[in-house]
Amino acid sequence: MTDAAVHPSFPEAARVALADTQLRHNIGHATHTIRTKRAAAVAELPDWEQLREAGRALKERVLRHLDEHLLELEAAVQRAGGIVHWARDAEECNRIVADVVAVAGVDAVVKSKSLTTEETKLNEALAERGISAWETDLAQLIVQLGNDTPSHILVPAIHKNRAQIRELFLRTLPDAPADLSDDPRALAEVARRHLRRLFLETRVGISGVNFAIAQTGTVSVVESEGNGRMCTTLPEVLISVMGIEKLVPTWQDLEVFLQLLPRSSTAERMNPYTSLWTGVTDGDGPREFHLVLLDNGRTDVLADEVGRQALNCIRCSACLNVCPVYERTGGHAYGSTYPGPIGAILTPMLSGLDAAGSLPYASTLCGACYEVCPVKINIPEVLVHLRAEKVEHSRRAGGTAARLDPERLAMQTMARVFASRRLYEAAQRAGRLGQRPLVRRGRIDRLPGPLSGWTSMRDLSPLPDQSFREWWREHRA
């Protein structure tokens, strides 16, 4: 995830996104629809809060014993005839996958939607080795055909509406009929014909992993379209890439997550396709199965006592759909594989605060994300924790620029003033005098410097002549 380093900061990227009226309309509509549906799906379960608590507790236990569970998983996969690879980072992961594809002697692979391989930029790495990676999830296909990047965890093409998709299909899919309508069924049918041929022709499949069961080495992909089922059953060779945090100890634990995930994610009681496989089976499915276990910064996140809860994430995207910031800026503004509230904490932890330092501030701390999270990640808590990390980091780094940072000066001044009643009361009086040049016709409509952002569209009411404490001393004390 090195792209964040060259990506503009969130406020800059957001300014561009906010001006895109089509995007505002598309994302506003989509998030409101799915938000309402999720609320209804969740309200059906009387034990939803207990399920959330169980999900959180299970994930926490997994993370406490991650080392043991991973070895258990490795042994179980090997016992079932699978091959396990360990990847320290994105580069190692991509090399392992490309090597397996090269040994298979093919120049094309089919892929089911996988955020983890988005994170490692696998498609680009395969292309460099002369291997074409075909995305088969409908929304991911739309993104790929448009040379675009995903803007949502679950619905990568959420920023596109059906008229835009129709236009894209007409331009990029040779099979698309000239009279293609923008009816979702017609659009899906064109994509289906295109994908069917790929599934039948391609000998290597690549998938992500939603859950891996340590006890038996069983790997699971949860999806809606059936493309994941095709990718994991039709090819001769299957390569599945999983983040090391994606495991659960036993089959019984899966029960909790298979209830939490679909309702949070697509607002369904149950998702249409849940594929589960254990190693390889003679005469059924792939003849060769590779499981790549990816770290890529995850053990660093695990070492962070407050931040490690981000590894609970099951990638449902409920936090994106309720986020008032995401709803308006869309996912691209985050400049990261993981957008929205979860991206605002996960990305800076995986790729460093230097690369994604503006993301922890891309939130009002309204808490809507925490409220819906099926594994109870306290995202506002982690956001504030990361802001503090950033402040501590610049404090340690020192230097004149850090010392003269206007925010730091303002915060330190406030801290000094509030630490003394005398200074605080003096500051109240000084504020009343100091504001005089700024007050025009009873309002402050223009503030200088960094505060000008406030008054670009909002007035500020001037400080009244008497503070509360002055009134109190006069009337009550």
């Binding site: 957001a14 501030y361 891309a362 701390l365 409220e371 909002r458």
Partner: protein, 255 residues
Amino acid sequence: MSVQRASLFITCFNDTMFPRTGQAVVELLERLGVRVDFPLEQTCCGQVLFNTGYARETIPLVRRFVRAFADSELVVSPSASCVGMVRENYARVAELAGDAALAAQVEAIAPRVLELTELLVDRIGVVDVGAFFPHRVTYHPTCHGLRMLALGDRPVALLRAVRGIEFVDLPEANQCCGFGGTFAVKNADTSIAMATDKVRAILDTGAEVIVAADNSCLLHIGGMLSRQRAGVRTMHIAEILAQAEPARAGVPSTP
């Protein structure tokens, strides 16, 4: 249920910018038979510092707070987010300070710090506070009141019981107004986009007054209403609840 006395935690923001909210809390509580005191040593709870990442700078303010309110049986504040800061985050700050004594003081005081509508409904046990306010009003549940403190329907129940009031529901009420402290400045464009939608929802109700339990969010919403010359004013819920019916002025309403 009866509450004899309560200490007012005004918050620096209300003390300096919205003294009339504090006056309203005092008048309201006195009318309900509560003796209010105001420890003058209080300054700021440190929420802005903490939420901006200056947790270390917050430590002295936590010490000051627990000292200022050490003798208070109950502390009441007209700010949901500052109450949230004390109840949710002070323990973390004490932990950061590595000071077990401070942690114990925080643990002792935090549950006694109540937001105004919590004090009214849960402790005093009153919903009809004997207020009179003959205006069309809508209510914005601010995020920290809604999700951190879970104020629920307390504020709306109090407002609905006000005589003469014409209360209308705010569409998409649970959506953040886009304030978020330094967010409003650091991410001004996104903040404005959020405030625009909030203001549109307010205007759609035809209300004359937009009410909340937090003046910080009202400063934000009101700033945009003022810029638009929208003809809608902001009021803290305490200011409405303090308005006594002329005929009944000075007569406390008992539940």
